[in-house]
């Protein structure tokens, strides 16, 4: 490997590579995982990651894969999925929604504190009504910004509410003591 190639490799890793959406071709392989054809290369089972999952679902998506030595290799970053074709957008969006499956909180009925570090929150979500048990609620039931509520239950399931001010008054009053 000559000096020139090595220097180029260094740049590939160190710099942010924004992917040209018109050249990307994602497809589902037999195992239902996403693979990619890009600039003459085929990458099997690519890893798609929302770099800022709480602020944007469709911008700054990292596309990476594991090489033969199981080492992380980033192909590049999609700045905005809106630049993809409709079917490509749909494919990626479906996969990301799946990977980041996180029901949205629509209503908060009640919160009970068992005074031992756990709270039981009765909520209505996009996936139905559920009472979730939260451990160490000071850390796992909190505001990530002025509006965004984020909850992680004892099993590791995640829930969020993008804007608590849009909740009904009763839900807000129930939340008020805890956030």
């Amino acid at each position: 490997m000559d000096k020139q190639t090595l220097t180029e490799e260094k740049f590939e890793i160190d710099l942010l590579v924004l992917l040209d959406c018109s050249k990307l071709h994602f497809y589902k392989d037999k195992g239902n995982f996403i693979s990619l054809e890009y600039e003459g290369n085929t990458y099997f089972n690519v890893r798609l990651t929302r770099l800022v999952p709480f602020y944007s679902k469709t911008t700054y998506i990292s596309v990476a894969y594991d090489n033969e030595d199981n080492e992380f290799r980033e192909i590049g970053v999609i700045k905005d999925m809106a630049d993809l074709s409709e079917d490509q957008f749909k494919l990626l969006d479906e996969y990301l929604e799946y990977k980041y499956y996180m029901p949205e909180i629509k209503k908060v009925y009640s919160i009970k504190d068992n005074s031992r570090g756990f709270i039981f929150v009765d909520i209505d979500t996009t996936s139905g009504r559920k009472t979730i048990c939260i451990r160490d609620w000071y850390s796992n039931f909190r505001m990530l910004s002025e509006k965004l509520l984020y909850a992680v239950d004892v099993d590791g399931n995640k829930y969020f509410c993008p804007d608590i001010e849009k909740l009904d008054r009763k839900s807000l009053a129930t939340l008020e003591i805890f956030v």
């Binding site: 195992g31 990977k99 139905g128 399931n157």
Partner: protein, 736 residues
């Protein structure tokens, strides 16, 4: 763990070996799915309809992958191609992982386990996670726990009985005082009778006597209570600490260090104060409640009813109001905590704040946090000041009824209630007032009982835990020669995630072996198994042909020396740290060991030589110096087997060279097993064991493996490439 939870629509549970519901599929849409396992097949159902069917042998391995918001079960072929079988929310992860483990076990051994042997992850009763507890601390039988707890008072029962007796006598005397008051008022104060000074004097004397006796009883009570409390606390802490050190790494790693420290100190302390304070109070308060009740009912049952009737309703209301207050104060605590964190952050990072010129932003953040805290505190105070007087009034509302109707009785306005003297009314209201103390205590009791029973369950769980790595009844003290054999070893820290798979290899005595592989491949795990910090899941590890489960742990570990990447030095002197594993070593031996480890030179330069204190985990010394002390410790230990786990990884090349000389001396003629990230460190090893994805990929000398061009070759090449790239880019921090 139950893996037969529910059957798909139109099917019976009996048709399957395991059947687990799952709730996600395809596009993160909610579905009503079932993953069913028969003796050889996996069938996936959605809404009762079969959508996929796989033979166990369709894949090489089954695994559960945790994504961000959900998990999925996948089947893999050759580690490269995989297929998603189904997906589910995180609560089902452990059940699916267990199914994967069982099928994988079938694929490697041909044996299909039909019953899962792992514990339920959640309490079936309350649904809270068990977190490694065998029994839910919140649902454990309270009576059983408290019986065990009070059983610990046994060695001090005599002194404890004196403390109880003192408290009971003191309470009895308290009941007598209002009676004397009544006589004083009715017979001497109200009639303004000045001709009976003797009687008045006797009564006053009796009052003083009661006061004196009460003071003595209180003193004796306090002395006895402290004696019991301190001894009991010491016993508990010592027992919990002893047991914690006896437990296997497997049990210990289920709990965090913080949790264990909590159990040794906080939980044990909570039990200590509960037993001596509340345990004694329980007897006295209940007794006092009964005595006072009987007295007031005997005095006037109608007035007594007026005093008691509102109490149950009031208690319910007051308890609810207390909960509201509690919520407001916990909110204040949260904001105060956020405020402290921010303060801590800004002041610790003041250089960053200054260099980035973000002072104003930080001031604004601080102002907001401080304001939120102040607002929450003010709100809580308002709520407290509104609720508390009301609660107290409500609690003692019965007394107002008694005063109103009692006064009417003195004035003889309600003949149906009878007649009362002023002295009797004062005596009565004093008794009613005495009812409220035990009642207030009783109101707090359920909360305290719940709190203490959780602490007690946690403490007793440790005290009663059977360690899973224990000495066999027929274990032997072996004089180790140094031959180690791994025979088809399988092991995983979590049952569903095997780290080592089917490892078979021989390590010959007196030779140096290097274990290499990517990080997380199981190198340190092999070492943990040799040290028997864990027991293998399957297969065996033997030393000189004896299964290590048949060798006493003390004998095994006294003949194995370990030098780790991060040396832990205990609070104490250099001398104490070197002699840690051999406290009876002579000073000559110690200096000799330090010289071999190249530690003597720097120790002599320390202000107090070998008596220099290495406080704060030894961070007053450099990494190289700490490592040399560890090597001296290992040399003094004179082990038959040496384990070097990245012993020189955190040192610079110059220090590594110096340390290497010490290590070479240490390893001479001993079986040595070394793990090193820098493969060049291991190139002179007699043999290399190469691990890949938890399996033994290849073994051989450096030259043999390089010629083979297998896994080791690519590891070496990858590392050389990184080194070259560092040269080209001139960036020593560039990490491949």
């Amino acid at each position: 763990m139950n893996l037969l939870l529910s059957a798909p629509k139109g099917h019976e549970l009996s048709e399957f070996l395991f059947s687990l519901p799952f709730n996600l599929y395809g596009k993160a849409q909610k579905v009503n799915g079932h993953l069913c396992v028969t003796r050889g097949e996996i069938i996936v159902y959605i809404d009762g309809e079969e959508v996929d069917r796989y033979n166990f042998n369709d894949f090489d391995e089954y695994a559960c992958e945790q994504l961000i918001g959900c998990s999925m079960m996948v089947g893999r072929i050759n580690d490269r191609s995989q297929r998603c079988i189904c997906a589910f929310s995180q609560d089902s992860f452990i059940a699916f992982a267990e199914v994967c483990k069982i099928i994988n076990h079938y694929l490697t051994t041909g044996i299909l386990v039909e019953q899962s042997d792992i514990d339920e992850p959640k309490c079936p009763k309350c649904g809270l996670p068990l977190d490694g507890y065998s029994e839910c601390p919140y649902c454990a039988s309270k009576i059983k726990t408290f019986t065990k707890l009070f059983g610990r008072v046994k060695p001090y029962k005599g002194v404890f009985a004196i403390a109880i007796l003192c408290t009971v006598l003191s309470e009895v005397l308290n009941v007598v005082s209002p009676y004397i008051n009544r006589i004083l008022i009715d017979d001497y104060v109200q009639p303004q009778n000045t001709s009976h000074w003797l009687g008045f004097g006797v009564l006053c004397g009796a009052m003083f006597l009661i006061l004196g006796i009460n003071t003595f009883l209180d003193w004796l009570n306090l002395k006895c209570s402290y004696y019991v409390s301190l001894n009991l606390g010491q016993d508990l802490r010592q027992d919990v600490f002893n047991k914690t050190l006896e437990l296997s790494m497997n049990s210990i790693s289920k709990k965090t260090a913080g949790d264990l420290i909590n159990r040794v100190s906080n939980d044990a302390n909570k039990l200590q104060s509960f037993l001596t304070d509340n345990g004694k109070n329980a007897v006295v308060r209940i007794l006092s409640l009964l005595i006072v009740m009987v007295i007031i009912f005997v005095m006037n049952w109608k007035l007594a009813l007026l005093a008691i009737i509102p109490i149950p309703v009031v208690l319910v209301v007051v308890k609810r109001l207390y909960n509201v207050i509690h919520m407001y104060y916990s909110r204040v605590w949260r904001f105060s905590n956020a405020h402290s964190k921010l303060l801590h952050d800004a002041l610790n990072g003041i250089r960053v704040v200054k260099t980035c010129g973000t002072e104003e932003a930080e001031i604004e953040k601080y102002r907001t946090a401080s304001e939120k805290w102040a607002k929450a505190a003010s709100k809580a105070e308002i709520v407290w000041n509104l609720i508390w007087p009301f609660c107290d009034f409500m609690l003692t509302v019965g007394n107002y009824f008694v005063l109103y109707f009692g006064s009417l009785m003195i004035l003889q306005r309600i003949p149906a209630f009878g007649v009362l003297t002023l002295g009797e009314l004062i005596q009565f209201t004093t008794y009613v007032g005495m009812l409220y103390t035990p009642l207030r205590w009783l109101m707090q009791l359920p909360r305290q009982l719940a709190d203490v029973s959780v602490s007690a369950s946690k403490v007793f769980e440790i005290l009663e835990e059977n360690t899973d790595v224990r000495d066999d009844a027929e274990c032997v003290d072996l004089d180790i020669q140094g031959d180690i054999t791994f025979d088809h070893v399988f092991f995983g820290y979590k049952v569903y995630n095997p780290v080592l798979k089917d490892i078979s290899c021989k390590i010959e005595k007196g030779k140096m072996y290097g274990i290499v592989g990517h990080s997380g491949v199981g190198k340190s795990t092999m070492i943990n198994l040799i040290l028997r910090l864990y027991d293998v899941t399957q297969g065996s590890v033997s030393i000189d042909g004896v299964d290590i489960r048949k060798i006493s742990q003390k004998s095994l570990r006294s003949q194995v020396g370990v030098v780790l990447q991060e040396t832990y030095l205990f609070e104490g002197t250099v001398l104490e740290n070197i002699t840690y594993a051999k406290p009876d070593a002579s000073f000559d031996e110690i200096v000799q060991a330090a010289k071999i480890a190249h530690a003597h030179e720097f120790i002599t330069k320390l202000p107090d030589g070998y008596n220099t204190r290495v406080g704060n985990k030894g961070y007053t010394l450099s990494g190289g110096e700490r490592q040399r002390i560890a090597i001296a410790r290992a040399i003094l230990h004179n082990p038959k087997i040496i384990i070097l786990d990245e012993a020189t990884a955190s040192l610079d090349t110059e220090t590594e060279k110096q340390i290497q000389e010490g290590l070479n001396e240490l390893c001479k003629g001993r079986t040595t097993i070394a793990i090193a990230h820098r493969l060049s460190t291991l190139s002179h090893a007699d043999n290399l064991i190469v691990l890949d994805k938890g399996r033994l990929a290849e073994t051989g000398t450096h030259d043999e493996l390089m010629r083979k061009k297998g896994v080791y070759y690519s590891l070496v090449m990858a590392q050389r490439k990184t080194t070259k790239m560092r040269e080209v880019t001139g960036n020593p921090n560039y990490v491949h």
